[in-house]
C-alpha cells in the first residue's frame, strides 16, 4: 500500500515578488519623514516637564535657542553671548517673518538670564516663543 500525503493542489509558498515594493513603500515613508539633525548641540541641558503642552504644528518656522548648564547659550551652531542675540534673531526674523522661537532651557537656569533673553527677543521683534518641555507622566 502506498502512503501519500493529502495535499491541496494549490501552491503553498507566499508570493515574494511584491516584497521589494512593500519595503520600498516603507522606505519612502521614512525617507520623507526623516529630518536629519543638522546642528550639533554644544550645551548640556535638561528640559523641564509640564502638562499643559502644545504642539508646534509647523516645524519650518521654528528657530531654537539652547541654554545649558553654566549659562552657556547656543544659537545655530555656535555658542553666543547675550548681546549677540538681538542681531542674530533680527536677521532670522527678516528671513522668516513669523518665526517661532523655541527656548530649550535647562531646569536650573536663573530666571534673570531667561528674562534677559526675552528682552533681547522683544527688541528683535521675535514675539512668538515656546518654552520647550517634556510631557509629565
Amino acid at each position: 500500500m502506498k502512503f501519500e500525503k493529502k495535499r491541496a493542489s494549490t501552491k503553498q509558498d507566499i508570493p515574494t515578488a511584491s516584497l521589494p515594493d512593500i519595503i520600498f513603500m516603507l522606505l519612502l515613508f521614512f525617507m520623507v519623514t526623516t529630518t536629519m539633525r543638522e546642528v550639533e548641540i554644544l550645551v548640556d541641558y535638561k528640559l523641564p516637564s509640564a502638562q499643559a503642552l502644545e504642539k508646534i504644528e509647523n516645524k519650518r518656522l521654528i528657530s531654537y535657542i539652547w541654554v545649558g548648564k553654566g549659562d552657556r547659550m547656543q544659537i545655530n551652531d555656535s555658542i553666543v553671548k547675550l548681546n549677540q542675540v538681538q542681531d542674530i534673531m533680527y536677521k532670522k526674523r527678516q528671513a522668516l517673518p513669523n518665526v517661532i522661537v523655541s527656548l530649550r532651557i535647562d531646569v536650573g537656569t536663573d530666571m534673570g538670564l531667561v528674562t534677559d533673553i526675552q528682552q533681547e527677543l522683544r527688541k528683535a521683534y521675535c514675539l512668538r516663543i515656546n518654552y520647550s518641555a517634556n510631557i509629565k507622566i
Binding site: P20, T35, Q51, I56, I100, D106, Q119, R122, L127, Y131
Partner: protein, 177 residues
C-alpha cells in the same frame, strides 16, 4: 542545447532587491528622529523703550498676581500658596469672569526674581495654562457638548473669546542683579 536557450534571456536577479531595500530601510529607521516639539507657547509683548512706558491702572479685581521668589515659594495676590494649588485657586476666578465683556477678563501676571529657578517658573506657567485649559474644556462641554479640541473652528473661537488666556509677564526688576 539547454544552456544556449537560456542565455538568450537576460534578466537582472531581483531576489536580493528586498535585502537591499531592507538595509536602506533600517538605515532610515535608525536615523529618524521623530521628536515632536512640545512646549508652552507664549507671545511676548512688543518692546517699548523704558522712557516711553505708560503705566495703565488695572482694576485689582481683574488681576491675579503671581510672585515666585528664589526659593520657589509662591505668592498669589499677597497670600502664600503652594505651587500646585495655583490651578485650583485660579479656576473659579477665571470661571467667574466668563460672562463679562472683553476688557473685564482676568489677567494673570507672573513675576519672578532674577535668582528664581527656571523650573519653578515653568511649573507655575504650566499650572496657569492647565487652569485655563480646564475652564475652556468645561465651558465648551456645557455649551457645545464636546471637548475644546474636538470643536470646529467657529466654536473654538467663541470659546476663546469667552475664556481668553491673558498672561502678563511683568517687566523684570533690576534691583536684585
Amino acid at each position: 542545447m539547454l544552456r544556449k536557450k537560456r542565455s538568450h534571456e537576460a534578466a537582472i536577479p531581483t531576489s536580493s532587491m528586498a535585502d537591499i531595500a531592507f538595509l536602506l530601510l533600517i538605515f532610515f529607521l535608525v536615523a529618524t528622529v521623530i521628536d515632536v516639539d512640545t512646549g508652552i507657547g507664549l507671545t511676548l509683548p512688543e518692546y517699548i523703550p523704558p522712557d516711553e512706558i505708560e503705566e495703565v491702572k488695572v482694576d485689582p479685581d481683574r488681576m491675579a498676581a503671581i510672585l515666585i521668589n528664589e526659593t520657589g515659594d509662591v505668592l498669589l495676590d499677597g497670600k502664600p500658596i503652594s505651587l500646585f494649588q495655583i490651578k485650583n485657586t485660579l479656576k473659579p476666578r477665571i470661571q467667574s469672569k466668563i460672562g463679562l465683556p472683553k476688557n473685564k477678563k482676568l489677567i494673570v501676571s507672573v513675576k519672578t526674581d532674577r535668582k528664581t529657578r527656571y523650573n519653578a517658573y515653568i511649573q507655575a506657567l504650566d499650572q496657569i495654562k492647565l487652569a485655563y485649559f480646564e475652564v475652556r474644556n468645561e465651558y465648551s462641554r456645557s455649551k457645545f457638548g464636546a471637548k475644546f479640541d474636538d470643536l470646529n473652528e467657529d466654536a473654538q473661537n467663541e470659546v476663546k473669546d469667552a475664556v481668553p488666556i491673558i498672561i502678563s509677564l511683568a517687566e523684570p526688576e533690576y534691583v536684585k542683579k
